[in-house]
């Protein structure tokens, strides 16, 4: 029956080819569009979650509301050691946050201070991608500035800056630091106002010995391991501290990712719905053309059910051809998009605090290709249902007399 269906679709080569190319074209466009959207969401996730929130985070119960310097986690190094041994985690880091007045020899301005562990932090973010110029923190009194801040202060690499702030004991904390790097993190606010210093320097400046504001963890196995990690962190640190997964800490981001998925599916359905009309028309025509032939087949003993199967099989074969051609073209476009990226010409485009690079690269997941191919097949087989049903209802005698 497969052979029969195959021969049938090639009886009208041109018609079949046009139908197949409509489907293939749809698939070839859907794949890069999905890759592009996934690329956008990957950038957002990277900036907002991986770099900042982490997959799972531990903090003082009121820190997220107050952001107060005093809401710290004491005895941080002990907890860090415990968390590090958890099998569910792939990386742990700790940070101290503060604010102060930052001055170069010409100017001064307010700055957000992040005290980071240079070695641990580098497993959370790509150091090379983040550094616009200079080098990563390595020595005491090193400081990195967001590129907007560096520009505002006219602070070049190697120049000295002074930080003045209120320390936790009420005294004025001050220190002199050497600019070693300029950072472009993608976080709009931090790039404009942020400085990065080593954890120990900031602890000293703010008088917060062995205290941190957040402990941030990445899950083994990426996003799918988040829930397991959260449970096990919860058990480790006890009730005094607040443990949250990234989607609890930033529900808006979680919703946005979900919305993005829905948008992709919606687009897919629209495109294949329209392509489905083509399949419907083609199959309907091909059934009408063959009324006599189908009548003869049924008169010779072919069951209506087998006729249905034959027509559905023809629709299926069309979709397989469309899927293969589409996946091949889409794959080629995907490859270009994922390696070269696409310049939209926005310049650096900022949305909800995330700065997207000028040339945005797509991200390819096999699931994109699979969902494109599967939805195309489902829709074109569905489009063949009505013609198949009509064919099965033919009366052999009347059908043979049709012209």
């Amino acid at each position: 029956m497969l052979a029969l269906a195959w021969r049938n679709i090639w009886r009208q080569t041109r018609r079949s080819l046009i139908t197949v190319s409509a489907m293939a074209f749809g698939a070839a466009i859907c794949m890069p569009m999905m890759a592009f959207m996934d690329g956008m969401f990957a950038t957002m996730f990277d900036v907002a979650v991986t770099q900042q929130i982490g997959h799972v985070r531990v903090e003082h119960p009121s820190y997220s509301e107050t952001n107060s310097m005093f809401d710290t986690l004491p005895n941080a190094s002990e907890t860090l050691k415990q968390l590090e041994t958890l099998p569910e985690t792939s990386a742990v880091t700790w940070r101290v946050h503060g604010a102060g007045l930052l001055g170069s020899d010409q100017k001064s301005t307010g700055a957000m201070i992040a005290g980071i562990d240079p070695v641990r932090e580098s497993t959370f973010t790509s150091v090379d991608a983040m550094l616009e110029s200079g080098r990563w923190l390595s020595k005491p009194n090193d400081i990195m500035l967001g590129h907007g801040l560096a520009e505002e202060l006219n602070a070049d690499l190697g120049s000295e800056v002074v930080i003045m702030t209120q320390a936790s004991d009420g005294s004025i904390g001050a220190g002199t630091y050497t600019v070693t790097g300029v950072v472009r993190s993608g976080n709009a606010m931090r790039d404009k106002q942020g400085v990065w210093m080593s954890l120990s320097d900031v602890q000293e400046l703010l008088f917060l010995e062995d205290q941190v504001h957040e402990l941030v963890l990445l899950a083994n196995g990426g996003r799918s391991g988040v829930d397991a990690l959260r449970t096990s962190v919860d058990q480790t640190v006890g009730d005094d501290w607040r443990v949250r997964s990234w989607y609890e800490a930033n529900p808006t981001m979680a919703e946005m990712l979900k919305l993005g998925q829905q948008q992709s599916s919606f687009m897919l359905v629209i495109i294949f719905f329209l392509a489905g009309f083509g399949v419907l028309n083609t199959m309907l025509m091909s059934v009408f053309e063959r009324t006599r032939e189908l009548g003869v087949m049924m008169a010779l003993g072919t069951r209506p059910r087998q006729v249905v199967k034959l027509i559905l099989l023809e629709g299926f074969l069309l979709s397989v051809l469309g899927a293969m051609a589409g996946a091949a073209m889409g794959g080629a476009l995907d490859y270009y998009l994922c390696t070269h990226g696409l310049n939209l010409g926005y310049g650096d485009f900022e949305m909800n605090g995330v700065v997207f690079p000028n040339r945005l690269k797509g991200v390819f997941h096999p699931s994109q290709a699979i969902s494109v191919v599967v939805s195309m097949m489902v829709i074109s087989v569905l489009a063949a249902v009505w013609p198949a049903w009509r064919a099965s209802r033919l009366e052999p005698v009347a059908a043979m007399r049709a012209d």
Partner: protein
């Protein structure tokens, strides 16, 4: 000619089901494009509106370098005089001044880096999201030199309430390597729904913020906001002739280049998507028309044998395509208008995914989006649908001109 049209119409109805499916396919595609455009138009307009009210103005006077380099020393001097002249020129419009500085706000429990925004309280009461959403205390009084407004999140972080005293530390304008401290009193707390406002900004009067600037009666922007397009056009033309020394007079189009670029690129991206949809639909139309021609080879042969010119027959096929397109354009536009209706009245709520407001290129907009009917675009897309259908009939029509009557009549 008329008989040809009625013939084309009758031909289409001979296979009513096939024609119906094709019309449905085209019109759904068309309706979708129109609806998406209408939704985007509503979006773009609300974005521009927020941008104009919050960041520029229909007319804005600012330092010539402010646009590229919004540094604190890029001020416009004698801002009150300029504002008063603009007010006199535009009695119906809102005229406001803005100052944008940075500083460190300290309270007994915390220190936070903030943007210090100086505004004219009176006009800003109508313009700013913050002024319209005061949750505690009240909005600044005109010329209140010591009053300060802040967002609810920031208030919580600083542990302050209405009537609390707040110190803003900022660079000393005379000598930026030194710092200066200004004392303010909290007059009110707002919840604007915009994260940067609620969390990282304080608002004071222009008078209150001027000690952070250098110059004589300085401000960063003096903006005019009109009610209608006609007022805007007149106002821009008139303001452009004003003598404001070294400062620049910009229209909203010039003052918001990033937003304009975003809208342009977004429109272009969507049009590519529309073209893809169109192409898929066109392939379906080609198939339909081709089949309908191939079915009628004998009929065309007979007509040619009876003296019809091949050209006339090709015209007939194109006409069939045109009628098909026309029907689809009408049905599609009706559907497009129908789909747009709920989006224009109840709107589309993105607040779960975007928060209360969303920030695009520094402009805050509501995450409840409303579509806006764009009759001109809907007409353009409808005409494009007709044109594409006619174009899709070109190949089948061309095939008709190549038929030879004798073979055609003998065709099975």
């Amino acid at each position: 000619m008329f008989s040809l049209i009625s013939m084309a119409g009758r031909n289409l109805l001979r296979n009513a089901r096939r024609t119906g499916i094709t019309v449905l396919g085209i019109s759904l595609g068309l309706a979708l494009c129109q609806t998406v455009y209408n939704l985007n138009l509503g979006n773009y307009n609300s974005m521009l509106d927020s941008g104009i009210r919050g960041a520029s103005g229909h007319v804005v006077i600012q330092h010539a370098q402010w646009l590229d380099d919004p540094e604190i020393e890029h001020v416009v001097n004698d801002s009150t005089a300029i504002r008063d002249q603009l007010k006199a020129d535009n009695p119906d419009a809102l005229v406001t001044r803005r100052v944008l500085a940075g500083g460190l706000v300290t309270s007994p429990t915390n220190a936070v880096t903030v943007a210090v925004m100086g505004v004219d309280p009176e006009p800003e009461a109508e313009l700013s999201r913050a002024a319209r959403n005061v949750v505690d205390g009240e909005w600044l009084k005109p010329d209140d030199k010591r009053g300060l407004m802040l967002g609810d999140t920031l208030a919580k972080r600083l542990g302050v309430g209405v009537k609390s005293r707040i110190v803003v530390m900022a660079p000393n304008p005379e000598d930026p390597s030194e710092s200066t401290s200004l004392l303010f009193r909290v007059r009110g707390i707002f919840h604007s729904g915009v994260e940067v406002l609620d969390n990282f900004s304080v608002m004071v009067s222009v008078k209150g913020a001027q000690p952070l600037l250098i110059g004589t009666d300085p401000a960063h922007q003096i903006a005019v906001i009109y009610d209608t397009d006609a007022q805007t056009q007149q106002g821009v033309a008139k303001a452009k002739t004003m003598d404001v020394g070294e400062a620049a007079v910009l229209s909203w189009k010039e003052a918001l280049p990033d937003l304009q670029a975003f809208i342009e690129v977004d429109t272009r991206t969507n049009e590519i998507f529309f073209m893809v949809l169109g192409f898929i639909v066109v392939l379906g139309v080609i198939n339909t028309m081709l089949m309908s021609v191939l079915e009628r080879v004998r009929e065309f042969g007979v007509m040619m044998a009876l003296g019809m010119r091949p050209k006339t027959l090709a015209g007939l096929v194109l006409l069939e395509g045109g009628l098909l397109g026309l029907a689809s354009a009408l049905v599609g536009t009706a559907l497009g208008a129908l789909f747009t209706y709920p989006l224009a009245t109840t709107g589309l709520d993105f607040s779960e995914a975007m928060g209360e407001t969303m920030m695009v290129d520094g402009v805050a907009m509501d995450s409840l989006m409303f579509a806006q009917y764009a009759p001109d675009r809907m007409a353009i897309y409808a005409s494009a649908a007709i044109a594409m259908t006619v174009l899709a009939s070109a190949w089948p029509a061309f095939r008709v001109t190549r038929m030879r009557p004798i073979q055609a009549i003998q065709h099975q």
